[in-house]
Amino acid sequence: MTAQAETRTAPAPVPRRRGWSRLHLAGLAMAAPATIFILVFSLIPVVYGLYLSLTRYNPLRRGGPEWIGLSNYASLADSPQFWRALGVTGLFVLMVLPPTVLIATGLAVLVNVRVPGIGAIRSALYIPNIISLTAVSMIWLWMYSQHGLFNQIFAWFGLPEQALLYDERTALAAAAVMRVWKALGSNMVLLLAGLQSIPNELYEAARVDGAGKAAQFRHVTVPGLRPMLVFVIAMDIIYLSQSFAEIYVLTQGGPLASTTTVNYLIYTTAFQYNQFGLSSAMAFVLFAFVAGLSVITMRNRTGDRP
């Protein structure tokens, strides 16, 4: 694609001036506004944030950021609170990711048929994903409440009433269940696209070789789906490790910090305790973890065995 586009967009008849043709200048002019915007509001903040992470800065006090080198990172290294938040974030990702990907793969296989009405089913399964995290968190807040759906079901089975969001042992899992429900649709849609990109000829060849349904799934579907699976997992890691809104609505990080994710801690450190420097350092540690995990995941994108 790249080479083709190159030859198409650089036709001979255009007069060239010192390497910058009229086309080049037009391209530059069209790309400039959005590029400058992204430079100013996405890339400069990263550099600025890196600088802030090396300072002590309380925006309510007079005087700007005060350079303290790597002290913020050093204090994070022996902050039990921060390590706990990292652990909670990792645990949350581990609680949500495997069930989401497994169920979504099952759903993608299930709806990968061409029958009337299947479009409506696919759309319906996608709906939890388009509604905002805050709105779905409100629904689940009610479902987990004293007279909510879960307690009505428990009562039906003769089980005692539970306050799942107020119990240190269950609060994170309760938030995770909601997130699985919300993430299913988007994972399913992407995996469905992955399934449909597997050429039919591969299945036919496998059938000719005498492969049954199970063998076809193992030797054609799984390897064919692998690139998309890896992409989906990487995207999930990036999104899930930044959980904030559902925590804010469901538990406010409690009870006893059992649901305080890194993003929630970053928010409270910056906007409740006004420690902008320390909070920026946390953001960069999170960035490093997320980037590292996605790179490791994406590396597995090509490879012959799962």
Partner: protein, 311 residues
């Protein structure tokens, strides 16, 4: 979803073999029916929370603390009235509408053009710049949150600021400030690039032969052929802005600039345990995105799949 030929959806009857065709076909149809039934059951399970959301929204507040039935005995609109007035969603809907409209317009004007330029009018260094823009989509929000907050606060000559951005609050607590992170979506530029890479370049060459300038070629030739792309850009910009919570949370402090998400959450956070009003509010703030989704399902899911498959 596209169902182009050659894709591996299960066709209804693809097996040859005249002698066994009839029995195979009926077996096939039975398994298909079973599958469809199973899919319907799963779908209903997934939608259960929404059924309850609607039910609670119509249940009178006095009854909302007892054992609730899925069909309210005396359905009421009162919760919606509370959501619009006490939760102040009427104001918030207007605010979110303004912010989302800003984001949609700026994205529509800038991002297809930018993707087109990076794809079709490459200049020295443009591929490097394009990769840099794509890379920004992987930056966690937390990394840019604080610097962006300080930058928006320090915008010169705004909100009581002087030339150096000191003294006032800049664009904090304004609708323009709320819209800033959503005005130019890097993902939209990527999708535009993908879209234009599949369009024939001969169109531009023919127009160039006729003496058309590059701007005219883009605005008059390519853009009118980009309706599916424009739909995806508009939808992504709209839902991304409408559903955002963290940025409005940190940049707005007064109720008259609250967005819908913030208004609903703050109402809950103030200790108002009125599930009826909360559910009614959740419905009101979800309706626009659900409507946008249902009317544009094809572009929506196709855009998602494109970004995924080709990315």
């Amino acid at each position: 979803m596209n169902t182009a030929p050659g894709r591996s959806e299960l066709p209804l009857d693809s097996r040859p073999g005249p002698s066994r065709r009839a029995s195979l076909k009926s077996r096939r149809q039975r398994s298909l029916a079973f599958r469809l039934a199973f899919a319907v059951v799963v779908t209903i399970l997934v939608l259960v929370p929404f059924a309850w959301m609607i039910s609670i929204a119509f249940t009178p507040a006095e009854q909302a603390f007892g054992s609730i039935s899925l069909l309210p005995e005396q359905p009421t609109w009162r919760n919606f009235w509370i959501a619009l007035t006490e939760v102040d969603l009427s104001r918030a809907l207007l605010n979110s509408g303004v912010v989302a409209a800003l984001a949609v317009i700026v994205n529509l004007v800038l991002t297809p053009m930018t993707g087109y330029a990076f794809c079709r009018l490459r200049f020295p260094g443009s591929q490097f710049v394009f990769l840099g823009i794509i890379a920004t989509t992987a930056i966690p929000i937390a990394v840019t949150l604080i610097p962006l907050f300080l930058m928006v606060k320090g915008i010169p000559w705004a909100g009581g600021n002087d030339l150096f951005g000191h003294g006032g609050t800049g664009l904090l607590n304004t609708l323009l400030g709320v819209s800033i992170p959503h005005l130019v979506g890097a993902m939209n530029i990527f999708l535009s690039y993908q879209y234009y890479s599949t369009m024939p370049g001969e169109l531009a060459e023919a127009a160039r032969m006729d003496g058309a300038g590059e701007w005219v070629i883009f605005w008059r030739v390519y853009l009118p052929l980009s309706k599916p792309l424009l739909a995806v850009v508009a939808i992504f910009s709209f839902t991304g802005t409408w559903d955002d919570f963290l940025w409005p949370l940190v940049t707005t402090t007064s109720r008259d600039v609250y967005t819908v998400q913030l208004a609903l959450v703050q109402f809950n956070a103030e200790g108002n345990v009125q599930y009826g009003a909360l559910m009614a509010g959740a419905i009101l703030i979800s309706l626009p995105v659900v409507a946008v989704f249902l009317f544009n399902q094809r572009s929506f899911i196709a855009g998602l799949a494109d970004g995924g498959v080709k990315g």
